[in-house]
Symmetry: C2
């Protein structure tokens, strides 16, 4: 690992761990949730707002930033931290996932992936080497290898081909990564779809290559909840204790807590901000759909004991009004409330692991989320 980077497990509870990742841009307490700053901004919030929710680290999307405003441009402006005015840790993904989900006319070959930009149709080539170069230009603290992510369900043959290609790209990313000086670390991505044998093979091969951390990719792409959990339960023990484990694109509060139980340290997901923009709040007591007319005369805040002022200071009636009136402030407050809830959930998970009572917390959260806060 790079000198400025470290990972220390502080406590364990079964397979679950709580710890601290050290980065050149500060400490990240794990289990950690990373708000998604797709286009170098977490939608609707200032960097100070994001920090106030409790975030130590955000994710930024290489795919979006390479197309606009461009990685070279961000580098010449002093790097991504300075560009987006976020002095804390940043993880960049490799761009692979969005190439699969957003780009047009993509063609995957040995050399990399060729696609047309969803913005202007320009032809772009993303190779493992270029993915590393872009993330170096962005200057994130944690870079991620280029991989090929396959939508589920998929055939065994397709899953195996993509997994082996991703292994090859992992090796090439590592070589490119080590060829230059940097204050970054590189995470590999375990692939293999819903095939447990392929997953374990992928994990072992990547561990042999020795990365700074390991992501589990290609989940939360349509497979059932229990399939996802089975894969996490199988893959996590195949990864080194001394390295952070990151479950990409996951998920709901229940998904995350179940993954923490199985040994995952890091998460990212657009749900808290996307749902916030659509009138759905996450609270300790479950989800609340603020579009519903039942809130129109409700003077209670969402959670008067929340650490998040937005959850304490505004009535459900006001939030309902903002959502119905399509006011930006509705999206802003609910995004903030939801991110604060996610961060609070991670903080509670860390405390529960330290106290050896993670199972209790899991059951608590399950009950709240099964019951719900009110008629929604």
């Amino acid at each position: 690992m790079s000198g400025a980077f470290s990972f220390r497990v502080i406590a364990t509870d079964g397979a679950a761990r709580c710890g601290v990742i050290g980065t050149p841009h500060g400490k990240v307490s794990t289990p950690a949730f990373m708000p998604v700053g797709t286009q170098a901004t977490v939608k609707g919030l200032t960097p100070d707002d994001v920090r106030a929710t409790g975030a130590d680290i955000v994710l930024a999307n290489t795919y979006h930033l390479m197309l606009r405003p461009g990685a070279e441009r961000i580098a010449s402006l002093g790097g991504l931290h300075r560009f987006m005015h976020w002095p804390h840790a940043i993880l960049t993904d490799s761009g692979g996932f969005q190439v699969m989900s957003l780009a047009k006319l993509r063609k995957v070959g040995e050399g990399g992936v060729t696609f047309r930009s969803h913005l202007d149709g320009a032809l772009v080539v993303l190779s493992p080497e270029r993915a590393i170069e872009i993330q170096r230009l962005l200057g994130s603290d944690i870079a991620v290898q280029l991989d090929e992510c396959v939508k589920l369900p998929a055939s065994h043959g397709e899953l195996e081909r993509a997994m082996r290609l991703s292994l090859d790209w992992a090796q090439r990313c590592k070589r490119a990564f080590e060829a230059s000086v940097h204050g970054q670390v590189l995470f590999a991505i375990v692939q293999g779809g819903d095939d447990l044998r392929l997953r374990v093979e992928s994990a072992r091969a990547l561990v042999d290559m020795d990365f700074d951390g390991y992501a589990i990719g290609g989940l939360a792409v349509g497979e059932p909840h229990d399939v996802m959990l089975r894969i996490v339960a199988e893959v996590a023990p195949a990864l080194p204790e001394a390295r952070p484990r990151y479950l990409m694109g996951v998920g709901t509060p229940l998904d995350m807590i179940e993954a923490v139980v199985r040994g995952v340290d890091m998460f990212d997901c657009v749900l808290p901000t996307r749902n916030g923009r659509h009138g759905l709040a996450f609270t300790r007591f479950g989800p609340v759909n603020l579009k519903n007319a039942c809130h129109a005369d409700d003077s209670r805040p969402l959670d008067e004991e929340s650490k998040c002022s937005a959850a304490r200071d505004y009535s459900r009636a006001y939030l309902h009004h903002l959502v119905k009136a399509n006011e930006m402030l509705g999206a802003i407050l609910l995004s903030s409330i939801n991110l604060a809830y996610y961060q609070d959930l991670m903080a509670r998970a860390r405390a529960a692991i330290a106290a050896g009572r993670l199972e209790e917390l899991r059951d608590e959260i399950k009950t709240a989320w099964t019951r719900g806060d009110s008629v929604t």
Copy 2:
């Protein structure tokens, strides 16, 4: 005037005055700019953000709030201050202006105005008495009479009819207002279009009725800049020295400073937030259109000496990126920057009046706004 309400002129410079309005929800330094909180929210900003720009008072639109969520509902939720979590002063307009500009099938009669809601087509009657009742339910600090605002250009006959109707409604509003106990004051609205004789007649008749403050309405509705200034110059001296004067819906920085020179104390306008949502920044050096490609590689902030952190902390390149990418944060930061600029302009006007150098400030601002900050 009501016990909790006061207005004190601290200094004058020619016709211009600086002073303080006392309200049950705090002091308002004048000349004052009131950000527009149309639907009980200043678009894109939290109440704390709005306060941080320097605002002592916001405006809320009676028309919008009576239709959604409803004045009775806001009253039962504890009033508008509590509803929108803004503990400082609030002025509500009467709804008259939006009835003219937004509502369908409106019919003005002696009794009031009947119209169909632009939201759901519901038939609504707004009489002078109901306009007062609604503003009482909202619980604003400053209420405004119902008037009829005519679009310019208009015939002399039409202007005179609307002016006399507005005088009649002023009297009825005053009677309704005085019939009950409250912590509110009531402003009258001078009408008369671009006809100076009608304007002065309206002003004198309203002064005879003795209101707590006087608005000049029906301007910034299409007339030339110099016509507006001529009317302000003519009307202001006809109003009592000891009462605040409010120029409704105005305006650009230059409009405001010229109106201050002519004795106006209060302003409201959607420009800073609307332009902020469309990529235009107001700065000490003039307007900056952040959509322009010339900003793409510009690492300078908009104004590194601004009191507004958003104007200091983010590069023009980043703001350009946010605007091009249609990110909410672009609208949020630019709205905040623009409102802070408007508040700073008012603070500089107050200081200039106290120092007897308002003409100098006016010339400074004119020069900056004529030259512009950069090629926009």
